[in-house]
Amino acid sequence: MAEAHSLENPRLQHHFRNADQQFSSSKLGMWLFLFTEIMFFGGLFVAYIVYRAWNPELFTMAASQLDTVLGAVNTVVLIGSSLTIALAIRAAQTDKQKQIVNYLLMTILLAGVFLVIKYFEYMHKFDLGIFPGAYYTFEGIDHPKANVFFSIYYMMTGLHGLHVVIGIGLMIWLVVRAKMGDYSSKWYTPVEMTGLYWHLVDIIWIFLFPLMYLIE
């Protein structure tokens, strides 16, 4: 009974046995949310699979419009950002307050690089008339369903990009709180949760890259 006293850890909620169980519960809750995210993107992956099975030659032709180098660079950028956010969590676990802020800022920077590269990719496509859905006007792909590939491309990379933007927002909030000294080895749950979210964003791109860019 005594260990549940909030004087020990002001962050401890009364309905948990101890801070450790509370942290475990938070992680489980986050994993359940990530389950829903996997199903969310899963729907789009199913659309991809169905249309690729129906029009394999279309996907080969259309994917040639995507820049493999930029896609690969973005993949490495996100892998780097996963490392930096893992290091931010490590900094919180080892009570290195300044490092938490620095690693979070590095993660935000890398996420920004990802978005900038995607911006140039989208702009190049818009120049060619490759727009989503009904606005598609590009004539360079000799297939009646050419717009379908790009609708799927824009939906998937767009939703993924939105998740990157949300992640940046979360991390900015974390930087604000970290600068106030809110995180330490005693309590850093929001950093851990955001880290898990960010790693999933990385994993989704790890699958998007070969499926969109590397089609022969």
Binding site: F23, K27, W31, V46, V50, I79, F207
Partner: protein
């Protein structure tokens, strides 16, 4: 046992390096002439292995309570069910089933 395992720096760095190498391998394999559908299979196997590394060592599943991994496995299971049942429809639409 604490649920606050601090993942060793060496593990984080070597996982990152492995991921970068696997990315290079993925692109290199793309330029090899592999007959369909095995080119997709190889690409997906590589991607799955990379995702496993991220899950185990960046997200900490290797050190966590096993139940978190069970949750993740269930999400894959349901994703496969999702694909499978959808394909049961879409792959057989022109099967020439004679109409009554």
């Amino acid at each position: 046992m604490s649920s606050h395992h601090i993942i060793p720096m060496k593990t984080l760095i070597s996982t990152s390096l492995a991921l970068v190498v696997l990315t290079i391998v993925t692109v290199a394999v793309f330029y090899l002439p592999i007959p369909a559908p095995f080119d997709v299979v190889v690409a997906l196997l590589l991607a799955s292995f990379k995702a496993t590394l991220v899950g185990m060592f960046f997200m900490g599943l290797y050190y966590d309570e096993k139940f978190n991994t069970v949750v993740l496995m269930f999400s894959f299971l349901f994703f496969i069910v999702f694909i499978g049942i959808t394909l049961l429809d879409t792959l057989f639409r022109d099967s020439g089933i004679s109409v009554w």
